[in-house]
Amino acid sequence: MLQIIRRVLMILSAMALCASSHASAQPAPAANTCLACHSTLTDAKLTTPAKLFSGPDVHRERGFACVDCHGGDPAAGDKARAHDAARGFTGAPAGQVQIATCARCHSDATLMRRFAPKQRVDQAAEYATSVHGKQLAAGHTNVATCASCHGPHGIRLVSDAKSPVFPTNVAATCATCHADQRHMAEYSLPDGKPLPTNQFADYQKSVHYSALTKGNDLSAPTCNDCHGNHGAAPPGVGAVANVCGTCHAIFAAKFQTSVHAQIFDKGCVECHGNHAVLKPSDDMLGSTGHAVCATCHSGADDKGAVAADGMRRGLEELKLGIGKSGELISRVGNAGIDVSNQELALTEARSRLTLARTEMHAANLPAVNAILAEGTTILTGVDRAGQDGVAELRFRRRGLAISLGAILLLVVALGLKVRQLDRRSHP
């Protein structure tokens, strides 16, 4: 009975599709009985694809149908003919077949130009170079393929905020496998150590994650910005500074001129960490306390320690000076004295502080001190103007105090006069 109802529904759906294609001015699409049939099934595994594909799906919206990936005969009225291997039915493509299925269109520059002319067409080639691709080629079918990240049905554009590969969702998508200890148990690092699964937790502590999710800065890096997306792999030793340098170009350039560039195996990671990159602070500099330099440098004989402490001292002095001058200027400005030039100069001094912090990556004390000295000179000018403002305020208050004195004298005189008049009126 169920079988009969299902067939009747299928035929009715097919008829409805034909009717709508006649009514439309668009070229008539081939009848798609796949959706009609699959949406009436009871097994969620078979109905979900139909449901997802019927909703927002970039492929369906551009005129593609189930047959384009799964093959078979979408016009057939019965399952046997629709799923006939002779008619190209492949079922759910997995592993290399899935890569090839997607690549059939996505690696075809001529075809892709019709739909997304700016989109790259080398994803499959890139994938082959990735750890995922290499593992798949080695026979590990559990690794990520296209559908693992983009989804098999209901695929959305990368620019769609609901897409699993939208910048704010990428880390969680990667974490579905990489934070799963059971899933990752069968893989190990090149040195044989077990593959860590704390990357996502670490990343969530980072300044990058904060900028992306709290600061709504979609340019802030997530997994694929450092590891690549289709060609995903850990950046090799020596390549870290280049990876960080794609965004932090000046820091990377300064670092390349430093003595550390020759010594640090992991480049920037040595001081800043990898996934848990915290907001940098001046506390990281110096040879004592929690300073990262203290890991290698300590003692008065250590040139590195002397340089680190010198740079830290200079930065702190300029910071303190900016704070004090800022307070002075703010006080004078609030009292109505023009301080626009001094505010501009303070901005300049703050720029010097930033420049000095950048220069510090070259680990060159004289170069840092030269920039800090420029900042100090600017502050001297600001302070001088601030003191002039204070003197002007003092002058104003003195003037008003004299005026107030005169007014009060007048009040007293008037009071005496009033008393005299009252005495005359009421002796």
Binding site: G336, L400, L421, D422
Partner: protein, 359 residues
């Protein structure tokens, strides 16, 4: 010299009636006499506002692109511009405080009773006008706080049922607070409101002079019972006392201007996020905070609409007080109105303080 000038005028204008008025006019002396000076002090500050306002007009430019810069120019570049602007700002606030004090003193002493209903009417409208001056003047420096406070304030005006949306559009000169709003507020602040205020102040003064000073009901009863109330001469005894009070007010304004300069803040940016702590000037705080506390819906009506209507009714009640307080008109004590005045005063003080500290 003075006599020569008076004689010269007398020959041409016949000042005998004025001379007679000045020579004969007396002011009653009693325990509540001190409240008489509040009106004069308020008027003196209005004069200060007119004088400093005219000086500010020499440099102020009423456009959204130049207003802030012109005020900045006044306080930083113009010789003594900072003093004029500080005095204008402080004097405005002190004026409203004194106007409220004058209002409550008249209310508590029942000085509005017959035949002084018209004096009360002109006075209450003057109080409303002072609030209008404050509201329109607050926007003129075109800084961040005033911009967003005006947005909120005109939004409240928009909550008046039926005429609200129209009033809001008229006030704003469009759907939002823009340069058009600034132009309108400027026109209101420097032309329309001063013209109406000058006429009302003249009428108020004329009525006060014609009807003489009111005395409290209890003293009036004693007077009717035959007790002779001592009087002081209006000129020069009372006038000199008034001038003395003005000088005290001037000293207070000067001290405030010197030691607590009025901040200019940051220029308004209509596209910026609303900064935290946006609130109106202190004299609107009680009303603002009350509207914040009203639930969004009360008995099926919008809470804000109800709140605004309630304030409108309070204003109407205040206007009609002389005609509602029949007991006072008959020269009898009217404790109900005394209690209402006390409740009003407590409400204003408490809600202003709460509104100031509320987040």
């Amino acid at each position: 010299m003075m006599h020569t000038l008076v004689d010269w005028l007398d020959e041409r204008l016949d000042l005998s009636s004025i001379k007679h008025f000045v020579a004969e006019k007396g002011v009653p002396i009693h325990t509540a006499e001190v409240w008489y000076y509040l009106g004069g002090m308020t008027m003196f500050l209005f004069g200060v506002q007119v004088f400093t306002g005219i000086l500010l007009l020499l440099y102020y430019r009423p456009s959204s692109t130049e207003a802030y810069e012109s005020v900045q120019f006044i306080v930083t570049q113009v010789k003594f511009g900072w003093l004029i602007r500080n005095i204008h700002s402080w004097s405005a606030n002190l004026l409203i405080a004194l106007a409220f004090a004058h209002f409550f003193s008249v209310f508590f002493l029942k000085s509005y009773r017959k035949p002084r209903g018209l004096t009360w009417l002109t006075g209450i409208f003057l109080l409303f006008l002072m609030l209008g001056f404050g509201f329109s003047g607050y926007l003129l420096p075109w800084n961040e706080l005033s911009f967003f406070a005006t947005k909120v304030g005109t939004g409240i005006a928009g909550a008046v049922p039926i005429i609200g949306p129209f009033t809001m559009r008229v006030l704003r000169g469009g759907d939002d607070v823009t340069g058009a709003t600034l132009s309108r507020f400027y026109g209101l602040h420097v032309a329309i409101l001063p013209a109406i205020t000058t006429a009302l102040v003249a009428a108020h003064l004329l009525l006060v002079q014609q009807q003489g000073m009111s005395v409290p009901i209890s003293i009036e009863k004693e007077e009717k019972a035959g007790r002779k109330l001592p009087q002081m001469k209006f000129f020069p005894n009372y006038i000199l006392r008034d001038v003395l009070a003005w000088y005290v007010v001037l000293a207070v304004v000067a001290a405030l201007a010197a030691f607590y300069p009025w901040e200019l803040g940051h220029k308004a940016d209509p596209f910026a996020v609303v900064p935290p702590g946006i609130r109106p000037e202190w004299y609107f705080l009680a009303m603002f905070h009350t509207l914040k506390l009203v639930p969004s819906h009360v008995l099926g009506f919008e809470g804000e609409h109800l709140g605004v209507v309630a304030f409108g009714l309070v204003a109407l009640f205040l206007v009609l007080v002389p005609f509602l307080d029949r007991r006072a008109s008959r020269g009898e004590r009217s404790p109900v109105f005394t209690v209402l005045a006390a409740l009003g005063l407590v409400y204003l003080v408490v809600f202003t303080i709460i509104g100031h500290y509320a987040k």
